[in-house]
Symmetry: C2
Subunit: 142 residues, 2 copies
DNA sequence: TATTGTTATACTCTATAACTATA
DNA sequence: TATAGTTATAGAGTATAACAATA
């Protein structure tokens, strides 16, 4: 065994998840872009066009905070604001080509380390992780 | 080889792991305590006694930043500083009983939440997670 | 009057540089 | 001279409150 305070399945699995998550996080120190900025680009890559409030909701951040992040990304040329033609209070935010490329390249780099890990696994282990991912995603949403 | 931008195994599994880890992190004993503070207590629970530099290295944070975190935790009564008797430049940092209890209680809460999740799973899914935990722990150590 | 986006301001956490006290 | 810890100061990123434009 080990000297963990609660030597049960929950502890074992929980600690393995947290440990791997920490390891994954340490692998992405390639870009100068912050997590928050990157997350915004990722949402836009996924949903094409979002308003400021929608981005703030998705990142669970205040509107002023998101406004600041969007300003930085706009200055850097990664996204553009377009006033909504129907409701002129709204501003639609979309990626530029540069922004889209950044998100693709970053995802590629972030996955590079984990790709190598997966390549070194047996087919069976890889399948186990794939199945576990589905279960974990469902669990996280509860 | 792997040119697809997003929907690949590495991305899917990585995001599931990070998402579950984020969810687990939200379960803590003291709601007002930051991740950084909690991490310091966890290191001390594991290693008994550490210096400021050792804590800064482990959390990959600057010494002044760690100093500030340690000050907060000291003010709150969760840890104590003791000058090293051999090398008087060093300061040994250890948990108080209160600090140790915080860590135990946090682990208990995280396990409790995760226990409920596990209980609701099928035997097969639970076994998948258990097997995945072993693989993830091995991966994290590489 | 309510909603969307924005500005003003303050607080937390982080870093680098400089200082102190030991070695 | 080098090292461990600390203090001073500044830069991100966050929040709440208040304001402008539109519905």
């Amino acid at each position: 065994m080990n000297d963990a305070p609660f030597p049960r399945d929950a502890s074992e699995i929980r600690m393995a998840v947290q440990r791997l998550a920490r390891r994954l996080r340490s692998e992405r120190a390639v870009e100068t872009m912050s997590d928050g900025q990157l997350a915004v680009l990722a949402w836009l890559a996924r949903d094409t066009s979002l308003t400021l409030s929608e981005l703030a909701d998705r990142e669970r951040v205040s509107a002023p905070s998101m406004n600041r992040t969007v300003n930085c990304l706009e200055d850097a040329g990664y996204l553009v604001r377009t006033p909504d033609s129907d409701d002129r209070r709204r501003v639609n935010i979309t990626l530029t080509d540069t922004g889209a490329e950044i998100i693709r390249e970053t995802a590629r780099r972030r996955d590079a380390w984990f790709d190598d890990i997966l390549d070194a696994l047996s087919d069976e282990d890889r399948e186990t992780l794939r199945a576990a991912a589905t279960i974990m995603r469902r669990a996280a949403d509860q």
